[in-house]
């Protein structure tokens, strides 16, 4: 039956490639995902029923355990994925990623003992275990941070040196365990496991706010790598293809995200970001006064505009205002106003997160305009309505070299004739940086919870 298993594995490997390729196009994406899932099912079933080696023992208990585990995992995975709100998507992806990492870690932990002395096998086992573990503990921290259970970046003194020392320790200990496996007691692998957990935590804990998407993407490729090491160990092609594919694709996505913020990856990992610069915040408070606008005035302004651009940010998602913003857009279109959405590549908590949210509330795909295309249109725009976004419209990215977001391409909203900013209060953005745009003479602040304020605005416009 070896031949049939190889065919199952071939189907698995090829569907991963085709599925991922199809996911790169909006039209075929959903089918691509299903094709990947189909190939995965074939590879899993093939392994359960056809994978047999000299060490394999099959009995009823094992089948009960395997199908029991798959049943439990499927039920929990399915329910969580179906129930989660779209705003909580990033932390969920992070959580599932951590589970994959933990799975790779457990494989390494069980395979260690009977492979002692076999240096080639041990290097794959230890590498997969360590990388999977780092991905696991790092993803859990990322999950806690994104879900707001741990919102302040924690910075230990000299954390860069500390992290590098622990990393060095992990690497040296791993090499030592591989080479000296027979001389060392079996439980050293568990010590290594604990040290890797600690490194994963140290690696993620200081990274704050706006950089979390980069971290998730990076940890995603780590788990891919861990799966690939499992593929080496068992000479298993779907694990190798899937793992390497995700490893390289994930790295590319990570770099794309860094490029969108105009910061090198090293800067994200080692740079102190997310804590904000206190100095910049202090300065900005002397940069002028803030005007606010009442809902009735704003209704009139929007109603008689020719062109309105909406800049949605994560605040919109948090306030669950994606539906009411679509209502506002439809209402204005009925009144003959041209409405578009300007989507910054890093809007939301993951690349493309904002598109997913707006698509959920039925906003037309064509109305979502990417940054490079919308920037030249701002001078002809009557009103820019910024809802729950901050850092992506902060002019400090262009003007203030000391700002942590300096160099990040932003939406040039200051070129529009009027700028309206909806915010709950004057607090700084997710990255913790004050925004000079608020003090611009063309800017008016429209204070209030996004959902409530926009609902009032829609009601007001309807009366005109």
């Amino acid at each position: 039956m070896k031949g049939l298993l190889e065919i199952c594995y071939l189907i698995g490997s090829v569907t991963f490639i085709i599925g991922l390729k199809m996911m790169g196009n909006a039209k075929t994406a959903r089918k691509g995902n299903l094709i990947g899932a189909f190939g995965m099912t074939i590879a899993i079933l093939g392994t359960i029923f056809l994978f047999r080696t000299d060490h394999t023992t099959v009995n009823t208990l094992k089948f009960v355990l395997i199908f029991g585990a798959i049943g439990i995992g499927s039920a929990i995975g399915w329910l969580t994925a179906k129930k989660v709100e779209m705003t909580k998507m990033p932390e969920l992806v992070s959580m599932f990623n951590g589970m994959g990492g933990a799975c790779a870690a457990l494989i390494g932990l069980t395979e260690y003992e009977h492979n002692r002395g076999n240096i080639a096998a041990l290097s794959f086992i230890v590498a997969g275990m360590v990388i999977g573990t780092i991905s696991f503990s790092g993803s859990i921290i990322a999950y806690l941070k994104l879900s707001g259970k741990m919102d302040k970046p924690v910075r230990l003194p000299n954390y860069n040196s500390l992290n590098n020392i622990v990393l060095l320790l992990v690497v040296i200990a791993s090499v030592y365990v591989v080479l000296q496996s027979l001389a060392l007691p079996v439980f050293v692998i568990w010590i290594l496991f604990v040290v890797a957990i600690i490194y994963g935590i140290l690696f993620t804990v200081p990274i704050g706010g706006a950089d979390m998407p980069v971290v998730i993407s990076l940890l995603n490729s780590f788990t891919g790598l861990a799966a690939a090491f499992g593929g080496f160990l068992y000479d298993n092609k779907p694990m190798l293809t899937g793992g390497i594919l995700v490893g390289s694709a994930g790295t590319l996505l990570t770099l794309a995200r860094c490029k969108a913020m105009n910061r090198p990856l090293s800067n994200v990992i080692f740079g102190a970001f997310g804590g904000g610069s206190g100095a910049a915040a202090g300065e900005a408070s002397e940069k002028g006064t803030v005007k606010d606008i009442q809902v009735s005035d704003l209704a009139v302004l929007l109603n008689y505009s020719k062109k309105v651009v909406i800049v949605p940010g994560y605040g919109l998602a948090v306030a669950q205002a994606q539906h009411v913003i679509h209502e506002l857009e439809k209402l204005l279109e009925e009144r003959g106003v041209e409405v578009k959405y300007a989507i910054h590549p890093v809007a939301g908590r993951m690349p493309g997160h904002m598109n997913v949210l707006l698509a959920e509330s039925n906003v037309e795909y064509e109305k979502l305009v990417e940054m490079e295309d919308i920037n030249p249109e701002f001078p002809q725009t009557d009103v820019v309505l910024v809802v729950g976004a901050n850092d992506v419209v902060n002019p400090a990215a262009k003007t203030d070299p000391s700002s942590p977001i300096y160099g990040m391409p932003i939406l040039d909203v200051e070129n529009a004739k009027n700028i309206i900013i909806n915010k709950r209060s004057m607090s700084a953005g997710y990255a913790g940086i004050d925004n000079l745009l608020f003090y611009n003479s063309k800017t008016s602040m429209f204070f209030g919870d996004a959902k409530k304020a926009l609902t009032e605005l829609v009601a007001e416009i309807k009366q005109l």
Partner: protein, 100 residues
Amino acid sequence: MEIFDFFVQNREMIYFIILAVFVGIEVIGGVPTVLHTPLMSGANAIHGVVIVGAIIVMLDTDPSNIFGLILGFLAVILGTLNVVGGFVVTDRMLEMFKKK
């Protein structure tokens, strides 16, 4: 030279890896930002293939090794969570794009 022996013995594997890296880069290259989130989520589901390793652990573990079976059992649960959760959540995201 041990290192040369390693290359000779694993020549096909090394070619395989290099080509797979390029396939990964090629497949993702040029994808619009709009699709990055579902793509990341889909890639996340695909690395859940690590579950195949967990099943192999279960099959290869001696039935009298209870501790090994427990670890394998947990690994299969975690791997399934990654696979099923990953594909379902990606499908939910993409479903929204398709409504248009």
